[in-house]
């Protein structure tokens, strides 16, 4: 805060506004917002940074999910008796209902795709190293929340696939040592997947996770803003100093490219939603598990793993993997950022991807 002099209009009434646009002046006189905007927008990013806009696209897709999800919630009824019919109704009877629902469906899938691509980009560019360890940890938290988004949203249409994916998924949570039984009852709101489960998943999907994700994304972005983008070629100096390499302005240069990427994604979403609209299987029947039932593609790896290893291993392995991911910046103490100077990390990373992709494909074709 500036102390002392009372706020005065910098320009005489009716005169030409000082400097920028009239709207800019109007807000500046009331909110002193040029300083804030300058701090937010007028930062510089290293010219050699290549983010491929993966993180920004993930954020954009979250925005798409908030808008389409809010619209869907206006017609959706979260009870086993009405859920299936309400989804059917909003898909076939409401104007553009198929589009909104299919964009929500594809937005969810692409959000996970781009989140993983963002994670891989940060991994291979070593952008998780000093001073960005906390940004990485928060980011892994966002990955977990997005998976919860997918898992809870999946049940809502209350069709056969939704129902049995939830039965198996919560059963896996029930297999966690010590807390498993409690966790199962907490997730399902009882011993079985019932209307209590649907209410819980709905509340988590439309209230808990969006609010949590929104707040944690804000933290993630504040961290990124404070640290600036990492250079994929030069490690950050210790102690921190102003980067000296070639830079370009975040606004408008970088942001313009980012917005173009978002528009491109919006077009892809509409095309995907139009050509491959979200389907709906038969209504959930707790007395009959359909043959060859499989989870969404992002859980296929775990699904396949569970077929080949003892139950406890299949349940614990993904948890250990996420835990390793979480503490990665504190395990990998090598300050180098160029790939050929960190061969172990790169090899392990590629190996990890190969295992995940392999299991997923295996799960798909089996």
């Amino acid at each position: 805060m500036t102390a002392g002099a009372p706020p005065t209009d910098a320009t005489p009434m009716g005169g030409q506004p000082s400097g920028g646009q009239p709207a800019d002046d109007w807000f500046e006189r009331r909110l002193h917002w040029r300083g804030l905007m300058g701090a937010l927008l007028h930062v510089r990013v290293p010219a050699e940074s290549k983010t491929f806009f993966f993180g920004g696209i993930t954020l954009f897709l979250f925005g798409v999910q908030v808008v389409t999800g809010t619209l869907l919630a206006l017609y959706y009824k979260p009870t086993p008796a009405a859920a299936y019919d309400s989804v059917l109704f909003l898909t076939s009877d409401v104007s553009f209902g198929w589009l909104i629902r299919s964009v929500h469906h594809w937005g969810a899938n692409l959000m996970i795709v781009f989140l993983v691509l963002h994670l891989l980009r940060v991994f291979f560019q070593a952008a998780y190293k000093f001073p960005r360890e906390l940004t990485w940890v928060v980011g892994v938290g966002l990955l977990g929340l997005t998976m919860v988004f997918g898992f809870t949203g999946y049940l809502l249409p209350w069709d056969q696939r939704a129902y049995w994916a939830t039965v198996v998924g919560t059963e896996i949570a029930g297999g966690v040592p010590i807390i498993g039984d409690t966790l199962l009852v907490l997730l399902r709101g009882g011993a079985d997947v019932t209307e209590a489960t649907l209410s819980r998943f709905f509340g988590i999907h439309v209230l808990v996770v969006p609010l949590a994700l929104g707040m944690i994304v804000a933290v993630h972005l504040v961290f990124v803003h404070q640290q600036g983008l990492a250079s994929p070629q030069v490690p950050d100096p210790r102690p921190p100093a102003v980067p000296t390499g070639r830079t370009k302005p975040f606004f408008p240069d970088y942001l313009l490219e980012e917005v173009i990427a978002w528009l491109f994604l919006l077009a892809i979403l509409v095309v995907l939603a139009s050509i491959f609209p979200a389907g709906l299987e038969e209504e959930a029947n707790p007395l009959e598990t359909p043959a060859h039932i499989k989870p969404e593609w992002y859980f296929l790896g775990v699904y396949e793993l569970l077929k080949h290893v003892p139950r406890i291993v299949g349940i614990l392995a993904p948890m250990v993997f996420v835990l390793l991911l979480l503490v990665l910046p504190f395990i990998d103490r090598n300050p180098e950022v160029r790939p050929r100077r960190r061969p172990l990390a790169i090899v392990l990373g590629i190996l990890g991807i190969a295992v995940m992709v392999g299991l997923t494909i295996w799960g798909y074709v089996s």
């Binding site: 619209l71 009877d93 104007s95 553009f96």
Partner: protein
């Protein structure tokens, strides 16, 4: 941004203004493309929920003795039937003030709205006191034997 001093195009549309207009047009049309499905989605589709109309049995005369009244459903519309000295009368039970459902108060022999104390005459439906702007809409009522029918539009 400082304005350019001279216009080298000699009165033709400058390139900068042309591009600005094109960009503005693109932004507006893109916003329209996004907003159209959202607005279309928000408009509720027509549902076949309307009542069929016709003569609806609403009760027996014994249910509504003289000097009493009762609110009955006619299709989806609440209707108040009052057994007055001038015979059986029926009105829409939706108060003309702000849409609450009126009741018959046998103590004051008036149709009363509980929300803002509007009072209606049970034989004519006209406003006796209170804020309602107009009287209650009359409905056609017939008594056949011991059965009361309301003819809904």
């Amino acid at each position: 941004m400082g304005a350019t001093a001279t216009d080298p195009t000699g009165g033709r549309l400058p390139r900068r203004r042309f591009l600005a207009a094109l960009a503005g047009f693109s932004i507006v049309s893109m916003a329209a493309l996004v907003v159209t499905p959202i607005v279309g989605f928000l408009v509720p589709p027509r549902t076949s929920g309307g009542a069929a109309g016709g003569k609806v049995l609403v009760g027996k005369v014994a249910d509504i003795p003289p000097g009493e009244g009762k609110v009955v459903p006619v299709g989806s519309k609440p209707t108040i039937v009052v057994n007055t000295a001038q015979g059986m009368k029926a009105y829409s039970a939706i108060c003309t003030h702000l849409g609450c459902i009126v009741t018959y108060d046998s103590g004051s022999a008036a149709i009363v709205c509980p929300c803002h104390d509007g009072r209606f005459n049970p034989t004519t439906g006209a406003v006796e006191s209170g804020p309602p702007p107009t009287g209650l809409t009359p409905e056609e009522v017939t008594v056949e034997g011991d059965e009361i029918f309301v003819v809904s539009a």
